[in-house]
């Protein structure tokens, strides 16, 4: 992973990566044979990192820390998720930062391991989109409102034809009635 491979090696690299990924998953699947499934506890940091990683078992779309594997024989972190949390703990023991640990998983499993897109590269688009929608939408709404207000103001000044007169007492009575009804 240290040096970038030449282009013609791409297929071989993909195959190697797939092989390595399969071995890692197989290793994780055999973990329950060594470690008691339910008894194992993980550090809080491993759990925190586990919420940033997707469980790679392939049959649930939960995070590694939140995996409960519905429908499985064991409702809790499945062997794959447990393996990932254990691996996270190993990285923690080496003194790596959260970001380094997440990156290590991304190198192992690819970008599908992210529970949320990383804030770099093309993934930034995912983070920018909602803000862009909100800002653009707000600008459109403000533009529309100001246009409507202006339109009304210009139409009010433009209407030179006087309205038929309404008796002041009738108008006052109507105003009082409307005020009372809308106030309460």
């Amino acid at each position: 992973m240290a040096s970038s491979p030449p282009p013609f090696c791409e297929k071989a690299m993909t195959r190697n990566r797939a092989l390595r990924r399969t071995l890692v998953l197989l290793g994780m699947a055999t973990l329950p044979l060594i470690v008691p499934v339910g008894a194992q506890q993980f550090s809080d940091r491993a759990k925190k990192i586990g919420f940033q990683l997707k469980c790679m078992c392939g049959s649930c779309s939960m995070t590694a820390a939140g995996c409960s594997h519905p429908g499985g024989e064991f409702s809790g972190p499945c062997p794959t998720a447990k393996g990932m949390l254990q691996e996270a703990d190993q990285h923690v023991a080496k003194g790596e930062t959260d970001e380094q640990i997440v990156q290590a998983f991304a190198q192992e499993f690819g970008t599908t391991v992210y529970a949320e897109p990383p804030k770099s590269g093309f993934s930034l688009v995912a983070w920018a989109m909602p803000t862009v929608y909100l800002v653009l939408g707000a600008l459109v709404v403000i533009f529309v409102i100001s246009r409507w207000v202006k339109k009304n103001a210009s139409e009010t000044t433009a209407s030179a034809v006087p309205a038929p007169p309404i008796a002041p007492e009738l108008l006052e009575r109507a105003r009082k009635l409307a005020e009372r009804a809308t106030e309460d």
């Binding site: 329950p32 044979l33 008691p36 499934v37 339910g38 008894a39 919420f51 997707k54 779309s61 939960m62 995070t63 939140g66 995996c67 409960s68 519905p70 429908g71 499985g72 024989e73 064991f74 409702s75 809790g76 690819g110 970008t111 599908t112 391991v113 992210y114 529970a115 949320e116 897109p117 990383p118 590269g121 093309f122 993934s123 688009v125 995912a126 989109m129 909602p130 929608y133 909100l134 939408g137 707000a138 459109v140 709404v141 529309v144 409102i145 100001s146 246009r147 409507w148 207000v149 009738l170 009575r173 109507a174 009082k176 009635l177 409307a178 009372r180 009804a181 809308t182 106030e183 309460d184």
Partner: protein, 686 residues
């Protein structure tokens, strides 16, 4: 019966073709007999779909294991209750169920308006029949639920076989809510066809005025109510069955159900602008179109497998059919709009920026941003694969980060919007309506902060919940006070009277109150805790103020499964409180497992206990306990939303003042000509 069902479906297809073709001919020729025959063909289509659906249910009830769909989704020991649910547990049946629910709506509309709105109904009938035709095409030629079970024999001849028993129903679906959640959600999806048909019909027919809006208001609210119920029941099912302690995982299929709900909610608000002020006609028509298209998109996402989902029980290759249908629908909508857009000319004027109209615009903006953000997040893995070759996952943490601020802004507008006046709101009115609620909200936030609450989103949610609840209660209080001054009745009676006088306005407030409860429940998520432990009988574990003691275990053979049950005693401060019985079910036919979570639920918190399984090394049961604060408020909020919607659907009760002005002298002065008698009594569009 399978032949009968197949034939009924085929005949329904023929009738739907006639309803479309005959309907178009009726619109062109304006011949009354053609209009009538097209309408009757529409009714016959519905009747035949009912027959086909009942035929499939009959095949389930009679354990007819010569039909592939029955074999895949049922077995002899499956209870009658779940044999009903088996209808929509797979692809073919769920598409037939779609047709069935759509037929219920279509038939209701055709009967309700058979002698009314003669200019509009032929157009509406054609649009509805067009949608039915699409689903009947799938039912007949792509995913027929009546396919016989067969294996290819020598020379390519198919050998029809009958199995002794079926594979059984997916264990995750064998839960009471699964019998009511899909029908509710589907009723929401299908129900939005009716406002869509009226909107497109009115545009095509250039139907004058806002009548189509009035005609569809109830249908839209009914569809919206079912969609809301469907979403919440699904969340409750996920909470009570999946055993992960949560209720919403931002799975693509969950997101798909939320999208039309968001645009539908935006429409229910913006439509008031058109009713009251004749504004936003183009916007409203496109909101209805988008809502319908999002219903189709939701069904497409659920069925096509284009995005990976835990709801993988009904995936197939029908995606291209949906894409084609959505493309045709969009083209028709666009064509109709471009041809008749002058019909949608609005009277767009505002007196002030601070007005009800502005709040509705911002409300719509937020709902739309939430919708587009959820949609683009859901489809981002597909986009990223197109552009970079790498599929980048977007999971729950992303959706939470993006949608929580938007949700809080919507909650803020929930409190502000209804109390702003149309056209212009004065400073005095702002002070009067919002002074106390703002103060009470901030006070609640201050108290929570002083008590140690440091989860800032939850704190903001709490402040806004208290603020919105205060504005709503203040509205009820003021209205009731006026009635009380006149009648002398109790406040409760006056509040009921007030609500029944303007059901739409006060029903709306009740719905808003329900949403406040939902947000309150969601705010509790920040304080969730959980503990997992392998336990022997007699062992205990601690979570919050509760001590859980495993008292015994047993195995309970049932007709369709064997349940391994844990008997967990709950103590609080060493005082025994109750027994909880979480269990794990092993289904015999399909060798799958399911959990039954035991929940002790209070308004303060849920004690949620899962029997996770047996530790393979120690052979000890593993108990996973969660303490989830305020969850009950979410379900309570859902019930309140449904109650409010039902209230809003009721007609206004006429005022005693109007019915008997002589017996009840009022202080209201004589009404000048041309002024509405009492704004409280007007056909409430507040």
């Amino acid at each position: 019966m399978d032949v009968f069902g197949s034939f009924a479906l085929l005949l329904a297809f023929v009738c739907a073709v006639y309803a479309v073709v005959g309907g178009i001919a009726a619109i062109v020729t304006r011949h009354p007999l053609l209009v009538k025959s097209a309408r009757q063909a529409g009714m016959a289509t519905c009747g035949l779909i009912f027959l086909a659906t009942f035929s499939l249910e009959y095949l389930f009830f009679t354990d007819n294991f010569s039909i592939a769909y029955v074999v895949s989704h049922s077995n002899r020991d499956l209870s009658t209750f779940y044999k009903i649910a088996a209808l929509w547990s797979g692809m073919e049946g769920s598409l037939l169920f779609w047709s069935f629910l759509l037929a219920v709506y279509v038939l209701s509309v055709l009967i309700a308006y058979r002698n009314k709105n003669g200019e509009l109904m032929p157009y509406v009938g054609v649009v509805m029949a067009g949608v039915q035709l699409f689903f009947l095409t799938l039912n007949n030629f792509v995913e027929s639920p009546f396919k016989a079970l067969a294996t290819p024999g020598a020379g390519g001849v198919m050998n029809f076989i009958t199995r002794a028993d079926g594979n059984g129903l997916n264990p995750l679906l064998q839960y009471p809510e699964m019998v009511i959640h899909p029908p509710n959600l589907y009723s929401g999806y299908t129900g939005f066809t009716i406002p869509f048909a009226f909107a497109l019909g009115a545009l095509l027919a250039r139907y004058p005025g806002e009548k189509w809006i009035h005609l569809t208001r109830k249908w839209t609210m009914i569809a919206w109510m079912f969609q809301s119920m469907g979403i919440l029941l699904g969340a409750h099912w996920a909470y009570a069955v999946l055993g992960w302690g949560g209720y919403w995982g931002w799975d693509p299929v969950e997101n798909a159900s939320l999208l039309p709900w968001l645009t539908g909610t935006a429409f229910l608000h913006s439509v008031m602008m058109q009713e009251k002020r004749g504004m936003m006609k183009v916007w409203n028509v496109w909101l209805v179109f988008c809502t319908f298209l999002l219903c189709m998109l939701g069904t497409f996402l659920t069925r096509s497998g284009v995005v990976s989902s835990v709801h993988a029980f009904a995936q197939s290759n029908i995606g291209p059919w949906f894409v084609a249908f959505m493309g045709i629908t969009l083209a028709v909508c666009l064509g109709a709009y471009l041809k008749n857009r002058d019909y949608l000319a609005s009277e767009n004027q505002l007196d002030s920026v601070i007005s009800r109209e502005s709040s509705f615009l911002f409300n719509n903006l937020l709902f739309l941003v939430a919708c587009v953000a959820v949609l683009s997040g859901t489809l981002f893995p597909v986009f990223s694969e197109w552009f970079t070759g790498n599929r980048i996952s977007v999971g729950a943490p992303y959706f939470n980060r993006v949608n929580i601020p938007i949700g809080l802004l919507i909650l803020f507008l929930t409190g502000v919007g209804p109390l702003l006046a149309w056209r212009k709101t004065s400073r005095e009115s702002l002070k009067r309506n919002f002074g106390w609620p703002v103060l009470i909200g901030l006070l609640a936030g201050g108290v929570a902060f002083a008590l140690g609450f440091r989860a800032y989103y939850s704190l903001a949610s709490l402040i806004l919940c208290v603020f919105v609840a205060a504005t709503i209660l203040l509205e009820f209080y003021r209205g009731s006070r006026v009635i009380r001054a006149r009648s002398g009745a109790s406040f409760a009676a006056c509040a009921i009277d007030l609500t029944m006088r303007n059901t739409r306005r006060y029903g709306g407030y009740i719905i808003h109150m329900g949403m406040v409860f939902v947000f309150l429940g969601l705010a509790g998520t920040a304080f969730n805790r959980d503990v997992q432990k392998s336990m022997q009988v007699g062992d205990s574990m601690q979570i919050g103020p509760y001590t859980l003691v495993l008292q015994a275990t047993d195995s309970k053979p049932e007709k369709n499964y064997t349940a391994q049950r844990m008997m967990v005693e709950v103590l609080r401060g060493n005082q025994p409180m109750m027994m909880l019985f979480p269990e794990k079910r092993n289904f015999l036919t399909n060798k799958e497992n399911g959990t039954m979570v035991a929940i002790y639920s209070t308004l303060k918190e849920d004690l949620y206990v899962v029997f996770a399984g047996i530790d393979p090394d120690t052979q000890q049961p593993v108990i996973h306990a969660y303490l989830n604060p305020l969850v009950k408020w979410i379900w309570f909020g859902g019930v309140t939303v449904v109650f409010g919607t039902l209230i809003a659907l009721l007609p206004n009760r006429r005022s005693v003042l109007v019915l008997a002005p002589a017996q009840q002298p009022s202080t209201v002065e004589p009404v000048p000509h041309g002024v509405v008698a009492s704004p409280i009594l007007r056909e409430g569009h507040d």
